[in-house]
Each structure stands twice: as C-alpha cells, then as structure tokens.
Amino acid sequence: MSGYLSGVLAQLAINIVIAYSVFLPAAAGLLNLGAAGFVLVGGYTAGGLTSRLNVPLLAAIPLAGLAAALIAFLVSFPILRTRGVYMVLATFAFAEIVGGILLNIPALGGAAGLSVSAYAGLPLVFTVTALVVALVAWLLATRFGLAMRAVHDDENVALLFGTNLRLTQVLAFTAGGALGGIGGALLVHQFNFIDVQTTGVMFSIFVLLYVLMGGTQTAWGPIAGALFFTLVPEGLRRAAELSPSLKFLESSRYIVFGAAVVLVMMWRPEGLITRTLVERCYGLLRRNG
C-alpha cells in the first residue's frame, strides 16, 4: 500500500472516530462545536504519557479517552445549563479555552507543539476505529440509545415518559468526550505531532459539519459524512493530477467541494443517511432475500 493511500485511510479512520465524538451528543439533541477541545485533551494526554512518561501506546489511548471523558463530564453540567445557539457557542468557548491553556503549558511544548516518537500504524488505527464504530452501534441499540433518540426528538415528551433527561444528556456528552479523546490520541500518534493550530477554529466547525451532513439519525451518518469530507477533496485533487483537462480543480477544488456541500444539503436536508433510507434498504434486502 502506498504511503499516500495509507495516509488518507488513517486520516479517514481518525475523522470517523472524531465524528462519532460529536455524533453521540448530537443524537441526544446537543450540538457540540467543541470537538477540538476533547481532541486536544486526548491528544496531549496520550502524547504526554508516551513521550514524557514512557507509557506504552496501547495504555495511553484508553487513558486519553478517560481523561477527555472526565473533562467532558465536568463541563457538561455548566454547558447543559445553556440551550440552542448558546449551547453551541458554550462548547465552542470551551474548546478555545482548552487550546489557550495548552498553548501556555511549556512542559507540553507550548506554541511549538508536542512531538512524540510512538507511532500508531494503520492496523492499530483501524482496530480502534472498528471498536469505536461497534461501540456506538451497540450503544444506539440499548435502552440508553432509545432514550437519546427520544430526547433528541422531543425533550418534554421524553421527560413525560419517565426518561431521565439530565442523565441521558450528561452521559451522551461524556461518551462523546471520551471518543474525542481517543480520536486525539490516534491523531497525535499517527502524525507524531500535535499542536493547538492543527485543531483551530475551523476544525470543530468542520467536524460538526460532516456529522450534520452525514445525518444524526443513524450510526451510519457520521461514517458517510467523514467519507464525504475526507475523500471528495482528496478525489478532486487526484483528478486534477491525473487528467490535464481537470487541471483547474487543483486550485479550485474547495470551491467545487463547497458547492457540493450546498447541493447535497438541498437534496438531503436531514443528512445523507436518514432513518427512512436505512429502513428502506433493510426492506429491500428482506424482500429479495
């Protein structure tokens, strides 16, 4: 496998993990524009553990998830006080503060960023991603998943039917934080480097964007969104390289990509993959099989 291809695939897998970190709160009706915050917490925890304390990589990844989950749990209480747009921006403020604090810790590299030597290869990244996908699929199938869906669709009715609203939201937010931490741990060890700039303002926005675009109704949505957001720009770049008649794409591929985003949203306003679509596919399979 060429280095280029494996690089793209690893990026895709990491994007899927981070997408799920935003998807879980979104499935419970909480829009999280602070993905970067949890990714940074996880990335710096794992990176610090392996490079400064010589903790093995396999132990550092779950520890990073735990650290991010703890932070997510703690901030979920103040953040859940806010609603709607205010909440979106409170999570965003959280991410900015995490970035600002990490920028001022010289022991973790400060503005220069943190370099680590432990390397997470493609097999490890893929295994972790597969585990995360399986975990989320399982979570959605449990009673907790049902509670999340109920809260997402209508908080008041869910409350009337005896769902523990606060618990569901806090758990969804915490689980999302844990996945963000794991994503960050993979990110830092795949690229052997992390700094606050890699996860700037646009990072969180993009993650939320591809989750919403993929669709928040089913566990397939974030995968579809991450695929679209990773592969379409890369594909456009390759097309420009391979064929001279598509040369113009090289500089303008993000224009085409932005237009694609707008068009896809016009065509499928509830996200690429909706519950109806999945059920229709199951129906087709059943009829034929």
Binding site: R83, Y86, F92, I97, Y254, I255, F257, V261, V262, M265
Partner: protein, 293 residues
Amino acid sequence: MLGGILAFVAVGFTLTIGMLNFLNFTIPALFMLAAMTMWALGTTGSHPFAAGLPWLAAAALGVAVAVAASLLIERFTYRFMKTKYGDATEHALPLVSSLGFLLIFEHLVLTLWGSEPQRVELPLAQADLRIGGLIVGVPQLASLVLAFALVAALSALLSRTRLGRALRAIAENPDAATLMGIEVNRIVPVVFILTGVLSALAGILYAASYRTVSPFIGDDVAADAIAGMVLGGLGNVWGAIVGGLLVGMVKVLAISWFGAEIEKIPVWGLLLLLLVVKPTGLFGHARIGKGKF
C-alpha cells in the same frame, strides 16, 4: 479599538439569529469579500479586476458585491429550506449550507487573488486625532460612530416602519406571518441585505484600520464577533454592540497585560463564565436562540 468592527459584525450575526434563528456562517465571507473587492478595484497592478478606481467607488462596489453574494446565499440556504421543507429552523441545514458558502467564497477569492496579505493604503488611515493624551485613529473612530448610527437607524426601522413590523412578525412566527398576509419570501431578503451591508462595512473599516487584507481575515473576526453577540444576548442589537465593544476591549487589555499568547483565554473564559451565571447573555431575550437547532 477593534471593538467598533466587532460590534458591526456582531450586529450582523444577531440580526439573522433574532429574525430567522439562523447562525449565518457566511458573514466572515461577506466581510472578506468586500475588503478584497475594494482592494482589487482600488489598486493598479497585474491582479484581476485591477481598476485603480478611487477608494470611495471601490468601497461602494465592495459593499455591492457583498450584498449580491448575501442575496445569492439567501436563495440557496434559507429560502430553499423554507419553501421545500416547511420550518427550516427544525434542521441545522442553513448552518451547514452557509459553511459550504463560506468555503466557496474564501477559495474563490483565493484562486482569484492569491493567499498573500495585500496592503491597503487609504488616505484617511494616516490621520490620527489627539484627544487629551489619547491617540485615536480616524478609521477606528469612524467605525464606532458609524456602528452607533447604523444601529440607531436599524432600531428605528424595526420599531417604526411597516417593513420593521413585518420583520418582527416573521421573527415571532414565520407561518403566522404568512397567514397575516406578509410575503415572507420578499421580506426575508431584507435581512440578508442588511447583513451584507453590515459585514461589508465592517470589512472595509477593518481594511482601513489594519491596512492589510487577505482571504481569511474574516474567520477570527467572526469568532470574536460571535463571542460578542453571545455576551450581549442573542437577538438584541444594542446587546451585540455592547458585547462587541466588550470583547474588543478585553482582547486589547489582555494582550497588553499578558501578551498575545494568552489572548483567547480571557474572551472565551468570560463568555463561558457569563453563560454559566446567565445562560441568555447580558441582555438576551428569553425565547430567542434556544429552540431546537
């Protein structure tokens, strides 16, 4: 003195949220588009559209381009969702599409004029006023005065005129407004025109005070303006002004006291703290911006 510009942009944001419950991420694109258009038309050189126009004409055309872009955005985000899928605010879609437009415009400008920061020399930018011991740049002062004047005009428009009444009715409930005989599809573009004008003026004032423009000047300004808007409370134009000025002040003070490394913590820390204490911002309406998003 960044505050005046932030106040402008914050008013743009708060207007679309208050009226349409739509967090319009194309505002940084409009901001940048106006500044870059002004630079391109107002200078001579080898870049496309180098016309060497007088600055005032170039700035006016910059505003016109931003307004045209804003109307285009309305057609493909808000209106589309509204006509086809009922109450668009149920979906987060306009948000996603507006980010798509942000990408389109930023990279359009990037391919057209390159990514290097360009110098803008406005005649007024050199002028400084001395009031007591304070040195105030003319563009900064102008942006402040202009911001207040525009918002006063905006408030009058919203509370006194027929158009303002229609806008407030749409903000209350678009469907009920339609039933009352308000043509939503003809009134909503007004909000986008206002947003376009506000962001474009802010962009031009930014170019005048900082003397440089680049395709990505909008991003950080927009993030700070959003912080200002939330501080002031969503949907409240005067709140946005106060919030924008506050964020500008906190930023400048933080940089001069602690250095540029730390500039983000005070602004966002203040915001988070305020939201914990008062989840609707300083002067926020209890109802706006809390619906499903």
